[in-house]
Amino acid sequence: MPALRVAIVGTGNIGTDLMAKVERTPDLELVGVAGIDPASSGLRRARERGYAVTHDGLDDLLERVDGIDLAFDATSAAAHPRHARLLADRGIMSIDLTPAGLGPPVVPPVNVAAHRDAPEVSLVTCGAQATVPIVAAVGGIADVAYAETVSTISSRSAGPGTRQNIDEFTTATADALEAIGGAPSAKAIIILNPADPPILMRNTVYLDVGPHEPEAIEAAVAEAVSGVAAYVPGYRLGSRPLIADGRVTVMVEVEGAGDHLPAYAGNLDIMTSAAVRVAALRAEDRG
């Protein structure tokens, strides 16, 4: 089966981390990398590794490289809409890692199957990637009335996109808890912690639930955790879930794979890992 031919748009930290993960994925073949900054170290690295590269953006890459099946957009919310149009015009699938939120939101273990044919999908936020699977899993065995999440990330892993648009982060994450996680109402909180050495990304999921068997909830949470850990190996349960008085509290931490981004940046790793996971599933579909 021929590998899926993929391109990466954006040569910052996320784009560079994606490169390492794509290289490790057998069904994906990296055929081009587009940036806009000739001095970017990510672009230099891509060139050194022998990929077709350009610093004139996606338009130029599309001129030079034929037969791209799928592109990852790791640029910015502002740049994404134009990229999405360019890709859609050529029938190239796109996976959006920016906060633009144009395509349907996807959290791989929960709803990727529903969007297998979508020309474009959005990965929402790292907070959504880390918490929606837990909400959906508990929702599968008990009535969830309300979901609330607190995602704490190291300051050093919070890029300008997050810092300038923190309101969009909280609202997009809360929307995903409802739309994909299935909670009728939800709230999302994000905290930046500047501690040095940097903390790992950690998430607390609070759920108000109807009648349930605590053992069933624990089992569902454990299964959800291993579902995410299948593609984000550093995703793990913190303390055992607390279940009392109609409230479930689940704590998960995310350690990154340390590809290009440091291991504490689990919040970025879970985004790049989810992106590659979606692409790998597309490759399987095609094969």
Partner: protein, 343 residues
């Protein structure tokens, strides 16, 4: 407030004080206190959930009344005083701020961890777009020295913040720290941008630190009647006013009205547990843990049968910041199950 006084008092009994009563203010209490503060001549009355707009949550606690009702109640009785609200980016959103403005708030304090001032720029711009006076609370201020705080202040002032507060969330700053920080901020900021001080009394220094800040050029002070606030409380309004008057500084507010409000209303009817430097709050100042964690720590210690001080010290070692209340449960659960290995 007299026209001659450069000092502007923001009384936060109805916002930070909310932490001390698990955000359970009744509308009638808000009306009485806001009316009294207005009569006493404070510049602004801060109102709302202790963790700011939109903080009604499992993480921070559910209030008895939504922010909008309490803001409207205070705005209805305030003749001269402005109504101030706090918003923490990452917790409160645009919709919350619009609601607060519509309910009668006209001053916003955008509060970020002092090292993360740039995450507040979006909300500062939003406040100004809504026609509100925008100030910044640089919280967990013990994390930065004078030059770091001055740099953060410069960043938010450029984005339109008209006042920048040093917020000693853990009550961990020493008087010299405050003096040097205010002086550095004063030197870095244009003259029209004010410096403010917001203290917690965990090390019994809130009034002394606030008075020192004023001596160094701070013109905005956050205070609370009877000190009602998170941890060992805020800088006590009526005590600071007495100190400043003794220092020869015209505060423009009426001491006797404030004393009556503090004793007859706040102590007699609102305060549920003593606002004091005891072994828990003193440990918070010592270990540099945000004062807002106090009641959450007490509950977690009860739930897991632990000494609350052990939880506080461990939280301090993990360098927690304002907003991380979920860490309390995490640390307590770990200690209780023995996963925690330190002493």
């Amino acid at each position: 407030m007299s026209a001659a006084s450069p000092l502007r008092v923001v009384d936060t009994t109805l916002r930070d004080g909310s932490h001390a009563i698990a955000h359970q203010y009744a509308v009638e209490e808000v009306e009485t206190i806001a009316a009294g503060l207005d009569h006493a001549g404070v510049w602004a009355v801060a109102v709302g959930h202790g963790d700011g707009l939109g903080a009604s949550s499992i993480q921070y606690g559910r209030p008895r009344h939504p922010d909008r009702e309490l803001i409207a109640a205070a705005a209805a009785v305030a003749r001269r005083a402005r109504i101030a609200v706090a918003i923490l980016p990452g917790i409160g959103t645009r919709a919350d701020l619009e609601d607060a403005r519509d309910a009668g708030a006209s001053v916003v304090r955008v509060s970020t961890v002092c090292t993360e001032a740039d995450i507040g720029l979006q909300h500062l711009r939003l406040a100004r777009d809504l026609g509100m006076t925008a100030h910044t609370h640089l919280n967990t201020a013990h994390l930065l020295g004078p030059s770091g705080l001055a740099e953060a202040a410069r960043v938010v002032a450029e984005a339109g913040s008209e006042g920048v507060f040093i917020v000693d969330s853990a009550g961990a700053l020493l008087t010299d720290d405050v003096r040097r920080a205010v002086a550095a901020m004063r030197a870095a900021l244009p003259p029209e941008v004010e410096v403010g001080i917001h203290e917690h009394n965990n090390l019994s220094l809130a009034v002394a630190n606030s008075a020192a800040a004023v001596e160094e050029g701070a013109t905005l002070v956050d205070t609370a009647l009877a000190g009602l606030g998170a941890g060992a409380g805020n800088c006590q309004t009526e005590a600071l006013v007495a100190v400043l008057e003794r220092m020869g500084i015209d505060t423009g507010v009426d001491l006797w009205t404030l004393q009556d409000l503090a004793d007859e209303v706040v102590r007699a009817r609102v305060m549920q547990r003593p606002i004091t430097v005891d072994r828990l709050t003193a440990t918070m100042g010592f270990a540099a843990v945000p004062a807002s964690y106090l009641l959450h720590v007490v509950r977690a210690a009860d739930r897991f049968a632990l000494d609350p001080r052990r939880i506080i010290v461990e939280l301090g070692e993990r360098k927690v910041v304002v907003g991380q209340e979920d860490m309390i449960l995490d640390v307590a659960a770990e200690m209780a199950t023995g996963r925690h290995r330190s002493a």
